[in-house]
Symmetry: C3
Subunit: 172 residues, 3 copies
């Protein structure tokens, strides 16, 4: 007999969904309303957790080395730009409010992750550019609560006060 992987229990998939859904809601994100589809992704995440020790994106091929896969641990580094541009993350696990309400149609989302030889590997203890030099991301400010966020585009909604993205103003 070959080693067999224990199939993911339904209740584990549901429990993971409930945690991620609660966390998403608190921060102003939304999960795909297609429950069966989402539970399939939960099983993929739990399988990856068992296989690699971390919840690598179920729609991408993980290396098995956490340091090389930091960018694709779910939620991945590409979720927010994909939500902003396409209304969904690469897996379509997370969708924008516009998609959720049927105001935007979710099409297939191209892979934003750079190929392996173009990826920046995070160096432990790496130094930051001194203030005054150019920062790698602009910083946006929520005018309601003062929340600061360093992204190429502001979040769809402020995770603190839920103000919409178009209210954010470039801060520095």
């Amino acid at each position: 007999m070959t080693a067999e992987r224990t199939p993911v229990a339904d209740e584990d998939a549901v429990a993971l969904f409930e945690r991620l859904n609660r966390e998403a809601g608190q921060a102003g994100y939304h999960m795909n309303p297609d429950m069966e589809f989402v539970l399939g992704l939960m099983r993929g995440l739990l399988t990856n957790k068992e296989r690699y020790g971390y919840m690598a994106c179920p729609c991408r091929l993980a290396s098995g080395v956490r340091e090389k896969d930091l960018d694709i641990i779910c939620p991945c580094d590409y979720r927010d730009p994909d939500l902003a541009e396409f209304g969904g993350c690469y897996c379509a696990l997370y969708v924008s409010n516009a998609v959720l309400q049927g105001r935007q149609h979710l099409e297939s989302i191209p892979e934003r992750r750079p190929p392996a030889d173009e990826r920046e590997v995070k160096e432990v203890g790496q130094h930051a550019p001194p203030l005054g030099e150019v920062l790698p991301f602009p910083v946006y400010r929520c005018p309601v609560c003062g929340y600061l966020c360093a992204m190429n585009t502001p979040p769809l909604v402020c995770p603190i006060c839920k103000a919409d993205r178009d209210r954010f103003v470039r801060f520095f």
Copy 2:
């Protein structure tokens, strides 16, 4: 017969209250405990949502042009300074903890919104001042969790770890 607006259903007002109340609580804000008063404001917000497409403040006159009213979409840009100075927002929809607990009396709140000809209109894609120049708001730091907030005064409580305002320290 003239066109009539459908009155806001009670359950819609309650549902909006429940969402806003949950979001407020998560970020350390409080809604006015006078439920009847609050449900009236919910009806106003939903009426504005239907009329303008966005939830403009029910206590102010909206222009109908979202770009011109970004500052008065609820929660408005003036909520937090009004909470800090007067213990309530302009509508008294949101109140401070001190007001909620009866330690502060809520008086009428003056209009903080500048007149139309003095309002800064947000330019899309506007540039930020380079680092090193004077920023439009000071940045405060929560000493417990490191949360950064760009406001003239720190939040009443840290939205992340609920530390009180007087613990915040000016960061830059």
Copy 3:
């Protein structure tokens, strides 16, 4: 008869636990799973609240002057560095996920608070160093959501999107 302090009611201790536990969970923190131990700390916090007017750490001696004790109001300024280094705060009220899951053993946590004559007293209205000078804490960025946090080490998990600490990158 000498004045007696009213003992803390069980339901008050439970209510405080429920609030702190909810707030902890929302921001990615965890309370010690030993309920009896935690309820004892809740009683200590409520006793301090009654005695001093603020919830000073139940495991430290408070001065009774809020301005001098700002750093030990619970959650204290030392919680996060202690969680990062030892897996628990000084009281063991908050524990790391690793401790909660039994992957880390909680040992006794040394006092991180400086002695009284070495503590910096917060000056009201103190000025911040101008940008370009050295900041007192590095700023880390969550690569998933852009959250910025000024601490010597990043949070155990991002309070917004729950990304793990090792994904954070030094921002400035």
